[in-house]
Symmetry: D2
Subunit: 357 residues, 4 copies
């Protein structure tokens, strides 16, 4: 249950304050160029401590390849990646050792497992997502061989939504904003929340371009279902939309249908997926993140004995998890699409004949 | 890829115009009372031809148990259920044999598999969901042994939203409306769309009550991720929300956090899930359905040679797939929770000691 | 746990005296010719009641295709096959209802599940293997597209071993004997055991020819490990050998190594598998079956209250399960190789480029 | 495909000359005491360089726990273990860089993946089995909580078989010999082969005691099938026997059946497994290993251009892989049984009621 994917399969390990976090990526086809510097550049995008819009926790997040790569190329053996944790100040967490931070996983982990690694949230910490991003980098490298690209950015912060999507601009924005005209307002909302010892929600957008027709394995391996699982499984995600999304429930069929002409689809309400299978159009995804549950305002909660306690949280936290969450959403989407690319390769006899002659 | 679940695992088969549809349910613990009449009563809820709000296709949808049950009780062996198709008028489909109905899976199946069973949408037909509902009935029977209930209904049609949720009322409503005060307006929207040879979208709500704390297997078997996958995989689903959902992205942490006192949670923005694990609160889900893509208005599309053609669809269709979709959403949610109930049973040594003493 | 395979995945259902047995085959590439008469011809090979060397139970074992095939060709959707049970004389089993037949699964099913379908062994009956053979037929059809053949026969009965392997002869032999010169002696052993109200063990041989190099997914999806699992999972199997098998443990490296020249391997001690991957040579397998546990001699056993009872079994049984077991071994081997053929198709980037251009 | 097990699931990584080997163990119930020194003591049993009966390669094989353990106890999160490779003399392998060592996986890896990490056999090196043993240690710790023990030793070397099984003696023997009376002869065979620049085969025995009744998930998760897969998947394994094994194919039913009295089974030809489920008796397994393919005698083989070459291998090798293989067989068996222990915990409603009240 700590593995993701079927044929491009990632198993992650590690906790916020364990010796290390990392992953094992199984199913990378042999012959793919894999190097640490590229993976590092992807991991650096979600690295903490880079701006006032992210947690101040300092981690170099240095990725090392342990296996599966020989002379710069994947060998078909599992690729293990490791990031050692440096900033392990367990003492910071004495104060929360015996209570449940509101809207955190502390409560549920304690009762499910009967034991809790309370240091920084343990396994439930978003720190684990660095391993996802590292794995996603390799997925994107594979996708790149076939022209597929996974783009992403921030669509909205606290209800302030982008009106246009500029994925190039997002790369340069400290908050990965998609709409330069809205970036300032979005930043202001984050900093205001932070200043008020509060936090704020937001929405990330992922667009996958050039995905070939045919990705997705109906009926229980549908591309949209897999993407929904991937995105809803990110820390703090509370809603996922594909294509027209929530709005589709408000439309008439004549408004929502994507008609075609000889050149292809005349619109893309579907968000690139029909019957759980990619149709060659852009795949459009939104994932909505709740505000960071870690806030400094005094709150009421239970301790591990079931008693009610008031407390004020301390520490270092992202004021808006959507920002770095957008990088994770990008990586998770890439993992899904890479997996589907492999799965789709045996959908009909014609493809097998290309391979086995 | 036609199986769903890990330990409570359902494999479905069948197409709209195959000899039969059905499923094999693997992992049902031995000793559960299972009888055809109960399963039938669940399947009847989504049976076509019952009202003017659903397709006029006539099917008795009679479920038979083929295996896995002995003297009315599950034996631990796989339970196979079958529903023979009766209404197989393939001739109806000659007209769409060589073209792709807009916003249907015709296009993607054709290009993925190189062959398409065009009769009624083949495998991509919502007819398959009868098997899901049958399987869901057994899941709900299992959950019932532990007091867990899965409730559902229609939250909105075409933007007309319920303001209160009455799951008892929904059971008696032809459209499973959750709010009696909105039912008439919602019905009117459906019938107006139908009269205009069009269709309309809608949103179903699922509420799971009495789920024990601890369901969900982090990090890639999270309860919310599994539910998102289950719901997004239903025909026509375009968005899934959990708890506060989309709205969470607009809130401050101080607004969205669920504080606790000695008695438990003081609010439920989380929708009953923290860190991917159930927290004992109600689990609240919304799934948004697009309008039925099958409409009778003339549309432009491609044929299988890539040429553009105009055509007007004929046949029998649901004017609003959300209505019967809500029954499927209920069943899929039950399947997820039943699976998680089994998975959670070995989360710690204490539980194992209860079993192996 | 009632599914077998990863990408060519078979889920079986049914018990000896359920309404039906059958299977769902998921992952058959679209475009494969599939017809009932071919499947029937394979199933007929293990049909009971055909000779004095098999049980006298009469079953027509008529296979029906329920789904996944359109106009004689697989569509990529799951193929469901069903065989209705005809010979359901439950009354035959009143005498064993409350006791455990020695060396049968009665004892273990009772204590594992707390309930037992005692009719004919329920799920543990070899009757279920008809579904495996039906699924195996489709696997063999797929393999045939690529020139791969799965041959089989009886190697030994009660220690009387074949000295040569003639797979064509085996097809015509009532006991599938591989060595015409030993057939009579082997038959005599079976009939003598039968006449003495006893049973006898035997060994089946499977040879797979023309398998391409590269099948097998190390390290935990090795071809030999998968074959061992497939064969050891057949009712009554107690040992599996690959290539030199048990004898390899008695040899020197210089005796067991397969040297090569320009044309290829100079010997085949390996049985066609190196490092868990096919090397292009014949794949040679032996599976050893225990004697049928159902014998008519009086035996001592426990009843379901734990009391010791003496009893004499009645009914219809195979005097030597290896005979029909060899057909099952053939089918199971085919399922493994078909699965590996699909899995191997994405082992390197070069193959993916052939598919996705 | 580099993962093993369903609920107690091990994913390994690493090659002979990668930076490290290791594993991620997913599904360890929370609350299990886990410490490095115990794991180390198990890993030390198969450590190279300890005697003249094993390879002279020097590795300290120091195991580190990276995650999943907090204050000495498992938390329910994945446990990652790592062993850094120290003895990475890649230069040793220049001579075999472009040829295929006979009866090694060099040939098959090259053609499957199109690229080969030739250093020490890469992923196909038995070095990876250190990770299996480390994982097996944790499995044995879990089993120990329930009184289950996994014993092992060498049954035969080059055909010289044990006549009695003394698992305590095996622990003290340099070759893990089960029969003290045969140890010397077995050692002599190994040293003679070594002196002749050759190698020799052997057979390991595993006995599992105190396994509860009910382990094994029929029909495709049978205990015997899973054990066969686990053992046949070990480097160099060519045959697996359970209970009476090969010999069962030579017996009459009256000889092979295990009758019962009030106290239980009167014999154990079954090797503790009936219908794929443990029956409470000892589980008896044999795995036959081929002689080490690495021998120093001159041999004929192909190079990567398909040309025939003569060559004499150099380096450090085990003269008999069965010896250290017996430790791996022990570990793999433990992994299977631990997995089955978890899987069996939901076989019937009664067990679930113990957990969920």
């Amino acid at each position: 249950m700590n593995s993701f994917g079927t044929r491009f399969r990632v198993t992650t390990f590690g906790e916020s304050h364990a010796a290390a976090i990392g992953c094992v990526i199984d199913g990378v086809p042999a012959g793919l160029e894999v190097n640490e510097s590229y993976i590092q550049s992807e991991v650096d995008k979600r690295r903490p401590g880079l701006s006032k819009f992210a947690t101040a926790r300092k981690e170099s997040d240095k990725v090392e390849i342990l296996s599966g790569v020989f002379e710069g190329v994947s060998t078909g053996s599992p690729i293990a990646l490791i990031i050692y944790n440096e900033n392990q100040k367990s003492s910071d967490y004495e104060s929360i050792k015996s209570l449940f931070r509101p809207s955190h996983a502390d409560f549920t982990y304690f009762y499910k497992y009967g034991i809790r690694d309370y240091r920084g949230g343990g396994r439930s910490s978003a720190r684990e997502t660095a391993a996802r991003v590292a794995a996603g980098a390799i997925a994107k490298k594979l996708l790149g061989e076939f022209g597929v690209q996974v783009l992403s950015g921030i669509f909205s912060i606290g209800g302030v939504e982008a009106e246009s999507l500029d994925f190039d601009f997002a790369k340069t924005s400290e908050i990965f904003a998609l709409d330069g005209a809205k970036e300032e307002a979005q930043k202001t909302l984050i900093l205001s929340a932070k200043a008020a010892h509060d936090s704020i929600g937001g929405c990330a957008y992922v667009k996958i371009i050039n995905a070939p027709i045919g990705l997705g394995e109906p009926l229980y391996g549908k591309l949209d279902a897999a993407l929904a699982s991937a995105l809803m499984g990110i820390n703090g995600a509370k809603a996922v939309e594909i294509g027209e999304g929530v709005n589709a429930s408000k439309l008439l069929g004549s408004q929502n249908n994507d008609q075609m002409d000889k050149e292809g689809f005349l619109s893309n309400h579907a968000g690139g997926i029909l019957g759980g299978i990619s149709n060659g159009n852009d795949i459009d995804l939104k994932v909505h993140f709740k505000p960071t549950p870690s806030i400094f305002l005094e709150q009421s909660t239970q301790d591990t004995n079931g008693e009610c306690v008031q407390f004020g949280l301390k520490g270092r936290h992202d004021p808006c998890i959507a920002v770095r969450g957008s990088i994770v959403a990008n990586a998770m989407s890439a993992l899904v699409v890479a997996d589907m690319l492999l799965l789709n390769s045996v959908s009909n006899i014609g493809k097998l004949k290309k391979i086995y002659g």
